[in-house]
């Protein structure tokens, strides 16, 4: 067992170290892909990541709902997908790097996604 003062010291030391890797004073309109986002977005990210595979892209084109069924998406997530709500997907934790793959299969180019992003501010 650690005594209380040692535990406090260790906590302070941890917080000081954390300063090197955790951006903390970012403006609200700058995001990070971190614990919160990655946790929130895992299902969506798995889904869009699958589009690396040609068979998954074919399934998406043929039957989008069947494609979504594979990833245990919530109703809200399915709705965001169907609506091509790029801001919503981003806020729900989808990484831009897999969003680009989704942009490919949906035929929505990055500049259009960008326009939506800008207008969200």
């Amino acid at each position: 067992m650690l005594n209380e003062s040692t535990a406090t010291e260790l906590t302070e030391d941890y917080l000081a170290r954390l300063d090197a890797v955790r951006p903390r004073d970012l403006p609200e309109d700058l995001d990070l892909f971190d614990e919160e986002t990655a946790t929130r977005g895992l299902r969506l990210n798995k889904a869009a990541y699958s589009l690396k595979e040609a068979e998954q892209r074919e399934l998406f084109a043929r039957d989008e709902n069947a494609w979504m069924d594979q990833f245990g998406l919530t109703d809200k997530e399915r709705e965001l997908m169907r609506a091509r709500d790029w801001i919503g997907l981003w806020r729900a934790g989808m990484s831009i790097y897999v969003m680009v793959k989704l942009s490919g299969v949906t035929g929505v180019p990055l500049p259009e996604i960008g326009r939506q992003m800008r207008e969200s501010g």
Partner: protein, 283 residues
């Protein structure tokens, strides 16, 4: 023993692939000459320098690595690296030639030096490697890559990220690895990514040319000063995705302190601050 002949910092972006793939005329038109002209200079410089290997420090964009197991550093130890399908079908390039023996040597040397990369016997490379690489190392005449590569991937996507200082030190450890390689080979170290860009949120598309050019100046003249920047600083200065510049910093760490830029170009265009900076290391 192997030698470090020089280094190249270069942006990477799908847009560069589209321009390259559209052919010579597009590459040299008014819109793209400011970027592809300098790339041609770097290509000619490399043609004279004739390095035997390229070590390419880059970041993957969820094309090889995914969130199930995301490596902080990952090193290729393969004899070839296929081109990843990023969701649109893979670009029609042959696999990049590798050098497993040098890869394993670097792995041992880095780990002995207390850097512990994920060691990859199979690795598909995405635009982090192959958007800038054809401009400096692809013979369109015979459709072949010329110089074997050793890829070294850095996590710049999933926070917590390795610090800029850690990446610079990784480059220094890479230098020790290269210099201790028993074959007499000339190596050029490439760092890809950046410069300023923001791909998410209301600031989508923002570029910051003043900071980009200051970064390139500091990289040449005072790289240690860049180690004092935190990710938070880089994000505020150049955008969320601009933290990729740590790959340039790692490249710079592999060069001698006195290395000088011999090609330096910057072009802010649309949603990217494109940079290119090639360094010669005196032998």
């Amino acid at each position: 023993m192997a030698r470090v002949l020089g280094g190249i910092g270069a942006s990477h972006a799908p847009s560069m692939e589209h321009v390259y793939d559209a052919g010579e005329e597009t590459r040299r038109n008014e819109e793209w000459e400011p970027l592809f002209g300098p790339f041609q200079e770097v290509s000619e410089w490399l043609g004279e320098l004739r390095p035997d290997r390229l070590v390419v420090i880059y970041n993957d964009h969820m094309d090889e690595f995914f969130l199930n197991a995301y490596p902080t550093f990952a090193l290729g130890v393969a004899d070839e690296y296929p081109i990843a399908d990023e969701g649109f079908g893979a670009r029609p390039f042959p696999p990049l030639p590798g050098d497993s023996r040098m890869g394993w040597h670097i792995a041992r040397s880095l780990v002995a030096d207390e850097f512990d990369p994920t060691i990859c016997q199979e690795l598909e490379v995405d635009h982090g490697v192959i958007s800038p690489l054809p401009m400096v190392d692809f013979s369109e005449g015979d459709g072949q890559w010329r110089i074997p590569v050793v890829p070294l991937a850095v996590n710049v996507i999933l926070h917590p990220l390795p610090t800029p200082r850690r990446c610079y030190k990784l480059g220094q450890a890479l230098r020790r690895a290269i210099l201790s390689y028993p074959e007499d080979l000339g190596v050029v170290v490439v760092g890809t990514g950046g410069l300023s860009h923001q791909l998410t949120g209301p600031r989508f598309g923002r570029v910051t040319p003043d900071w980009d050019q200051e970064f390139m100046r500091l990289l040449a003249e005072d790289p240690e000063s860049l180690c004092d920047y935190k990710h938070e600083d880089l994000i505020k200065l150049g955008g969320t995705e601009s933290v990729e510049v740590v790959n340039w910093l790692a490249m710079r760490g592999a060069l001698p302190r006195e290395a000088k830029p011999i090609v330096k170009a910057y072009y802010a265009h649309k949603i990217m601050g494109y940079g290119l900076e090639a360094f010669a290391a005196a032998q």
